[in-house]
């Protein structure tokens, strides 16, 4: 998206496995159908339905949980570019979510006034939509902020990625983990920094509230569309978030077919071979970080508008881990799989687990406190999935072949591994 590397010799033999033309239409159509259905259902059908149906839907598929899941899916797709496409393990993706969130906090909230004493009377608005009485500070339009956040995160991705380029995968994971731990601490402690602690860049753990609403711009001319998406316009927000998810999916799919995507896949499969074929390793890897991070920035801004604020406590290591679990459970590298994995896992985390608990208690008349067992359930899901369906829900054709290799017996593995061994030895020799 941001960088297109010049590849002198495209890795021809690494053309991605062809996605059948049938499924390449069926999937987007299916998703579009579901999205339209959810919108129509919540916007027009549900309000007319009986109270029981309404409350049933609200309990099992609350619109806010749907929106949240859509945002998780955007993050998961971003991580998928880094982990799934390029095979670079990133354990600190939450950093980009945080940066995106704080970009929203700085640029579309009254908070900018508090940053420095001399900014006290700052009042900037670029097609902004401040809440009533909150028009001081900086208020840029939601869409502008999205673009800015994407760019800022892409830059951050490059900065984080740059020192890791010489490293092999596990060390890379560690550096990203390090950034993922440092940035949240900066957010938490950023209340008094700079000379004499005069600067307040993040408002510490108090967070930044409220974040502006999303303006609908020209679309408000359409009858029924509100001019501002307030806290109860969830179905309209769903269109915004869903549209951005669709964009993320589209970009993911297109990029994968393109030169850059093929270079990523080549690096994932075999870095050595890829570099021999003329894939510029550094630039390709960095662009993976940049593109993946920009998704995180977009998602972070959306998330800030979704919850109406930015709070530092959100950005913990466990978020990175959950995102990774979404990517892996959904099917690494497969856009549809990752999306479904993210939607599913996010729903389970926010709604599903507690609802299943309620049902269980109702049916058995028991009084099991499900919330207190969530760690176990969540952990068990991860372990069982890895044991019995490690290629994920909807595996990428390519990874499936690698992952479905049967367990090898001792004798079998000898032959099968000879190749790998020879390669290792050769590489070692080359190093010396």
């Amino acid at each position: 998206m941001t960088t297109t590397p010049e590849i002198t010799t495209p890795p021809k033999e690494l053309k991605p496995a062809k996605v059948g033309s049938r499924s390449s239409i069926a999937w987007p159509l299916g998703f579009l159908g579901v999205a339209v259905l959810i919108f129509v259902l919540n916007q027009w059908i549900l309000p007319e339905a009986s109270a029981d149906v309404q409350s049933g839907f609200r309990e099992w598929l609350p619109m806010s949980a749907v929106n949240e899941a859509v945002l998780w899916a955007i993050f998961a797709l971003g991580l998928n570019i880094v982990v799934g496409y390029s095979g670079l393990l990133d354990l600190g993706y939450v950093a980009f979510w945080g940066i995106g969130g704080y970009v929203a906090g700085w640029l579309m909230a009254p908070f900018a006034n508090q940053v420095a004493p001399q900014w006290n009377n700052l009042k900037i608005s670029v097609w902004g939509h401040p809440l009533p009485g909150q028009d001081y500070g900086i208020h840029l339009n939601f869409w502008l902020v999205l673009i800015i956040a994407a760019v800022v995160c892409a830059l951050a991705g490059v900065v984080i990625g740059a020192p890791t380029l010489r490293l092999k995968s596990d060390y890379l994971a560690l550096v990203t983990l390090g950034f993922g731990e440092i940035l949240p601490e900066v957010f938490r402690n950023g209340e008094r920094v700079g000379p004499n602690g005069a600067w307040n860049i993040t408002n510490g753990t108090k967070g930044i509230t409220p974040v502006d609403q999303i303006g609908t711009g020209p679309f408000q001319l359409i009858p029924g569309v509100p001019d501002l998406l307030g806290p109860f316009d969830l179905t309209w927000k769903f269109i915004v978030y869903g549209g951005l998810l669709a964009l993320a999916m589209f970009v993911s799919l297109r990029i994968r077919e393109g030169r850059l995507g093929r270079a990523w896949l080549a690096i994932r499969e075999d870095e050595l071979a890829a570099s021999m074929m003329g894939v510029p390793l550094m630039r390709t890897k960095l662009s993976a970080y940049a593109v993946g991070a920009s998704f995180g920035g977009i998602g972070g801004v959306c998330y800030a508008t979704h919850v109406g604020g930015v709070l530092a406590d959100r950005f913990t290591f466990s978020v990175s881990i959950i995102l990774l679990a979404m990517v892996v459970l959904g099917g690494m590298g497969n856009v549809w799989g990752v999306t479904i994995g993210a939607l599913g896992l996010a729903w389970i985390n926010s709604t599903g687990l507690s609802k299943f608990g309620d049902v269980y208690n109702d049916v058995t008349g028991g009084n099991v406190n499900f919330a207190s067992h969530n760690f176990l359930i969540f952990g068990a899901v991860l372990v069982l999935f890895m044991l019995f369906r490690r290629e994920g829900l909807i595996p990428e054709t390519r990874t499936k072949q690698v992952l479905q290799e049967p367990e090898r017996g001792e004798i079998e593995s000898l032959g099968a591994e000879m190749e790998g061994t020879a390669e290792d030895t050769a590489a070692e020799g080359a190093h010396k």
């Binding site: 609350p62 619109m63 909150q134 001081y136 402690n189 753990t205 108090k206 967070g207 409220p210 709070l311």
Partner: protein, 383 residues
């Protein structure tokens, strides 16, 4: 129907569960009646397993759900000011409301009064307030603690350790401001990291400044046990270097059992549990029946505040027409809500000031840890 909104998973799970249980017991004891209305309790969970604590998205989602549930008239909660900051504006914009929220633990001053820029207006986008609380705000407690340190303990040099959370920072800031005003030297106001294994190094640094008092601005849950242990190990016992703490350090059986706690001062809005137990009243009965049913005392002092919050809501329902707006108006229009001392779960009269939503019961007790219990020492007036 009313609801509670608490973090039921992760580090605050025990405290929240006990709060819910105590509220259930209280509702049972009054037959779920508030005037002509029958009251049911619905429990929301604002935490997720993945986060291990309260979660913004869940808070926001719960707010939607509170508003969308037609017969739910008021919310008791939350435990965390951060979560409250997200929920209040949403509840406030309820088309049938504004919807009343009464918190038992969200003590950040900005929620009800001018604190940071834009507060408290930004929590009332509809123009009228809808958030009340039965706890005093951080600034009162910090101020009272500083006054007490100066007048009764005669300390001159204090060091503040805050837990780097909204509550701890706010209360530490208030303590520092008052202390400096009345002539106590503040040697430092530093955040400690609740996730560190120990604090020996921190206290060694503090030791070189030779303070005669330490103020723990935070809650005991944030590794307070270890903090206290290391404080005593490095600086000496609480007789030698006085230790003060806010109400985040009250009502913990674990704290009472700690031998290092001996001599610890804690400020508390309301009465200590054993005073409540001695004093015949609603709170004593409630604690007794909790003990009978669960075989222990509630694991947090906020449980009683939670009941107090529910009492305010019930009183409001009784005075109202049973609609969301009516319940909210009962608190914020006219004289506000008053719970007399003999009924109140905190053993003190609770009066919600309709202008701000804060409780007017601002007097603060000072407790001292003696022989494994927090004993009432004196009442500390706040101007």
């Amino acid at each position: 129907m009313i609801s509670t909104d608490l973090p039921l998973q992760g580090a605050s799970a025990d405290a929240s569960t006990d709060t819910n249980n105590l509220i259930e017991l209280y509702l049972d004891s009054i037959d779920h009646k508030a005037g002509d209305y029958t009251v049911e309790l619905k429990k929301y969970d604002n935490s997720t397993a993945a986060a291990g604590q309260w979660d913004e998205a869940t808070c926001a989602a719960n707010a939607q759900e509170h508003v969308a549930t037609a017969n739910e008239v008021a919310v008791m909660g939350e435990f965390n000011s951060g979560c409250t900051k997200l929920q209040v504006p949403v509840l406030n914009q309820d088309p049938d409301g504004p919807m009343l929220q009464v918190s038992h633990a969200s003590t950040n001053p900005g929620l009800t009064k001018a604190w940071e820029q834009g507060e408290p207006e930004k929590y009332a986008p509809s123009g009228v307030k809808s958030f009340a609380r039965v706890v005093t705000t951080d600034d009162y407690q910090g101020t009272a603690a500083a006054d007490f340190a100066k007048e009764d303990l005669k300390v001159t040099k204090c060091y503040i350790l805050n837990d780097n959370q909204t509550y701890g920072q706010g209360i530490g800031k208030a303590f520092q401001a008052q202390a400096e005003k009345i002539g106590i030297q503040i040697l430092g106001n530093e955040a400690y990291d609740p996730k560190q294994p120990n604090y020996t190094a921190v206290f060694n640094k503090i030791k070189s400044l030779s303070p005669d008092c330490i103020y723990f601005a935070g809650i005991y849950d944030n590794n307070g046990g270890q903090l206290l242990k290391d404080k005593v190990a490095v600086l000496g016992d609480n007789e030698k270097v006085k230790t003060l703490s806010p109400d985040g350090w009250t009502g913990y059986p674990d704290l009472d059992e700690q031998k290092e706690a001996e001599g610890l001062y804690a400020t508390f809005a309301g009465l200590a549990s054993e005073q409540l137990a001695e004093q015949e009243g609603a709170a004593a009965d409630l604690l007794k029946s909790f003990e009978e049913k669960y075989g222990m005392q509630p694991r947090t002092s906020y449980a009683l505040y939670g009941v107090a919050g529910v009492q305010v809501i019930l009183e409001a329902i009784e005075k109202s027409d049973g609609t969301k707006k009516g319940v909210r108006d009962a608190v914020f229009e006219g004289d506000g809500i008053t719970i007399p001392a003999e009924e109140s779960a905190t053993g003190k009269e609770i009066h919600i000031d309709p202008a701000s939503g804060d409780t007017t019961a601002k007097d603060i007790s000072v407790l001292q840890e003696q022989d494994g219990a927090q004993k009432f020492l004196k009442a500390q007036p706040v101007e």
